[in-house]
Every structure is written in C-alpha cells, then in structure tokens.
Amino acid sequence: MSGFLTVAGLHAGYGAGRVLHGVDLTVEEGEVCAILGPNGAGKTTLLRALCGLIRTTGTVRLDGADLPRNRPEAVARRGVAHVPEGRGTFAPLTVEENLRVGAYTRRDRAAVAADIDRVYGYFPVLGKRRGQAAGSLSGGEQQMVALGRALLARPRLLLLDEPSLGLAPLVTRELFEIIRTVNRDERLTVVLVEQNAHLTLEFADRAHVLETGRIALSGAADDVRADDRVARSYLGIGG
C-alpha cells in the first residue's frame, strides 16, 4: 500500500450501532484531503476512529506503521493532532495555557515558545487575549485556539472536524486560508471533515464523499466539484 495515511476496511460505531461499514481511504503526504457527506454519513465517526477515540476493526496506518487502537493519547504521540467537534477548549485555562497543553508531549522548550509566537502571528487576536480564559472567547476565536493547540504538537497529520461550524463566513475563510498556509509551509497533511462543500473544495487537493458509512466517490477536488451528483447533493447547483 502506498500513501501517507492508509485506511482499509475500517468499521466502527457506538455500542451496537454501526456507523462505518468498511471505509477505504488513502491520503498522500502534504495534501489537504476533504471528507464531504451529508449529516449522519459518519464523517465525525471516521475522524474519531482514526485517532483512537472509539473502537474499530480494520487497518489504519500512518507512514507505513499501524496506529495504536483505543488510545488517543498514544495516537497523539505518533504525530496525529485532532481538532475535535466542539473545539475541545479548556475553558478555565488561559489562551496561552491552552496552547501549551498542545505542546505537552514536546521537550524542546525554546521551540515551543517560538511556535506559540508563530500561532499568535497567524491569529493576532489570540496574542491580544493570551491571558484571558479560553472559555470566554467567541466561537471563532475558540476554533483558532483549537487549531493553534493542534499545531503546537508539531503534528504530521492534522484532523479537523467541521472547523466552520457556527462561524461567520468571513471567519471561516480566514481560518481555511491559515490552514492552507500551514499545509504549504510545513508540508502538513490535513484531513478536513466539512459540511461547507463549496469552500472546502476550493481549498482541498482531493475530496472523498462519505455516504452511509462508505466512501462513495473520490477524486481531485476539481473533479469532485464537477461531478453531477456532488453538484446536485452538496453544492446546490443544477437540479
């Protein structure tokens, strides 16, 4: 199998309810890969399965080696950062402390300090609020904190769960541009789950459409955008 992240025959669910029915997926190093699909298709479940938050069967390999199962902290230590649904904010901690939790597994203090400054460079508003409790920030700012926290782990793979949820369109666009910048500057591989298909296809390299727990369609972002079914179902084009 080639590919940086390779997923084969992945089944997962909650209790007796199966959500993923054999997902096969390959993500190349350095690409932004979008997972699109309707509500309930299993997008969030797929990310939770990748990072070990739920029980799975099937294989998930990163750079040729199997990822640990059911142990998110071990998956994180292998270089997978997950920005979860709901942003995972540590509400009573300050913005800066939130970022430092992201660097928890690192030992290189000086580089961590430099990375925190770099995040403030991406999101100047966070720099202004570094001493403020993260729970008091707006939704968009908390999403920036979540992204910043993920970046501070110096991940090799970034999983983003609906970063646009609840954000104003302009804020979303700003966030996506920064994700793209990081992806380009640091060759960070990104898997992005989104409802907002228009914007996502504009930023992604490749896209996969997840329907009822299986990948229904894969291709370059431009080809997926041109696909009739996608146009009708997710982009509101044609009829």
Binding site: P72, E73, T89, F90, A91, P92, R100, G139
Partner: protein, 293 residues
C-alpha cells in the same frame, strides 16, 4: 476586642484544618467528578501511620514527611484498584463505592490500631505568643503555617509546572487532554495521590486536638463538606477560603451566640451547607455550569 481577635485566630486555626480536608475533596472532585466520602477516613489512616512512625522513635517532622509519601502512594493505589474499575459509572455507584471505602478504611484502622483513643504529639510548643492583650497559641500559628505551606506548594505545582498544567487540562476537558497526548489515567492517579497527601496533613494537624481514634475525622469531614460547598466544589481556592470562613464562623458562633455554645457548633456547617445550596449552589468561587458555545 482582644478577646475577639483571639477567637478569630482560633477560628482560622480550625478553619485551616477544614480547608486542607476540603482541598482534598475538591482535588478529587475536579479530576474524577467523585465526592469522596472516604476522604476523612483516609486522613485518619494516614494519621495512624504517622503515629506508628512516632511510636517507633522517628522524629516528628521526618515521620510527617514519610507519612505524606506513604499517603501519596496509597492514594494512587486506591485510584488504580478501587476507582479505576468504576470510572464513568453513574454517580450513585461512585457514592456507594466511596462509602464502602469509608467503612473499609475505618474498620481496617480499628483492626490494626484498636478503637482506644491515643494521645497524638503536637509538634509545636505548648506556650503562647503574647501580642498586646492577645495570646496566640503556637500550635494554632503552627497549623496556619503548615496549611499555608501546603497551599503554596500546590499552587506552584498547578500554576508553574507542566504536569500541573496537564492536571488542570484534564480537570477541564479529559477527552481533549487525551487528544493532546496527556496520559489521563496517570493524571487521575496523581490527583488521588495529592488529595490523600493534603488530607493527611489535616489529620496530623487535628489529631493533637481531638485525640487519635478511628472515628476522629467524622466531624471534621462535615466541616470540610461545608467548606467545599461554600467555596465551590470545583475551586481549590474556594475550598481554602471556605474552610477559613467555616472555622471562624463556628468559633465565633460558639463564643458569642449564647444559644449555640460549644454543644451546637456542629449546626453551623450544616446551616452553611443549606444556605449556600439555596442561595448560590455553585459556591462563592465555583463556576455555574454555563459556557459560551
């Protein structure tokens, strides 16, 4: 006036003891969402360990340090053995488990050391410091000093160390902490260890006043619950302030409200618990469960 200041300091002295047990309760509640009814018994057991060291001829302060170390390891062991299997269970299950632990520890102490009361040495001189018309017992001042030192160490741990940051992250959002690579299981065990250590301090400090026996901490636990409720169960600072307020309120009520006297003092913490729950259920420093989405 001198008498009032005297009472105030005495109140702060007992309040400091309630504060340290309340802090132990809050530490465990923050990390695991468990209200640990056995906290007082663990403190009592630790005090017996200290007593055994002292009986064996170990100097008091060394005995205290050894006791704190044993308590720390014991707390971690209890988390692993007793609490880990019921992690995430319904609240009623957790309450019953800690009540079971209460009975177990209490009975074990009686079995090992018997229920006869024992004299516990005070590490502080019997005399008093005279300032103006006020005479302050060295034992009271010593208690305040020890508790202040413990608070200082904990504050530094949480505020300035990496593991302290990880502990606060786990208390706030364990799932998210795991995604950042924090080994949550270790942090929870550490939380129980710290709580047992802080609780042990309260036991060792109160033992010279109350005499040492297996049921020694029952009353103290009620005051600690009042303190934690007053301060807010999710606020370590609140536990400390709550403890001091409860101690002062109890002492002043006992001294100046004739109808209460020393017999009805135990009513004070109960009144505080009920009053706080009615007026401000999250406590003085607690966070109400409201957050921006």
């Amino acid at each position: 006036m001198a008498d009032f200041i005297q009472q105030l300091v005495e109140g702060l002295g007992s309040g400091a003891i309630y504060a340290s047990l309340a802090l132990a309760l809050v530490l465990i509640y923050q990390f695991t969402g468990i209200v640990n009814f056995a906290q007082g018994e663990l403190a009592m057991f630790s005090t017996f360990i200290a007593w055994s060291f002292v009986q064996a001829g170990v100097p008091f302060w060394l005995a205290l340090i050894l006791t704190l170390a044993v308590s720390f390891l014991g707390g971690m062991a209890i988390e692993r053995i007793v609490i880990r299997p019921v992690e995430g269970a319904p609240e009623l299950t957790l309450v019953i488990v800690t009540l079971g632990l209460f009975i177990l520890v209490n009975a074990a102490a009686g079995w090992i050391w018997s229920f006869l009361i024992k004299d516990f040495p005070s590490p502080f001189p019997e005399s008093a410091l005279h300032l103006g018309g006020v005479s302050l017992n060295y034992s009271t001042l010593g208690v305040l000093g020890v508790v202040a030192a413990v608070m200082g160490v904990l504050y530094a741990l949480f505020r300035f160390t990496k593991i302290g940051l990880a502990m606060r992250a786990v208390a706030s959002n364990p799932a998210s902490a795991r995604l950042s690579g924090v080994r949550v299981g270790r942090v929870l065990a550490l939380g129980w260890g710290l709580a047992a250590t802080v609780g042990a301090v309260s036991g060792v400090l109160v033992a010279p006043v109350l005499f040492l026996e297996p049921n020694m901490m029952g009353g103290v636990l009620v005051y600690a619950f009042a303190a934690a409720t007053l301060g807010g169960f999710d606020s370590p600072l609140g536990a400390v302030v709550g403890g001091l307020v409860v101690g002062v309120a109890e002492t002043l009520a006992g001294a100046y409200v004739g109808a209460i006297g020393s017999d009805l003092k135990i009513g004070v913490p109960l009144a505080i618990i009920i009053g706080v729950l009615l007026v401000r259920p999250q406590g003085l420093f607690g966070r109400a469960a409201v957050e921006r989405a």
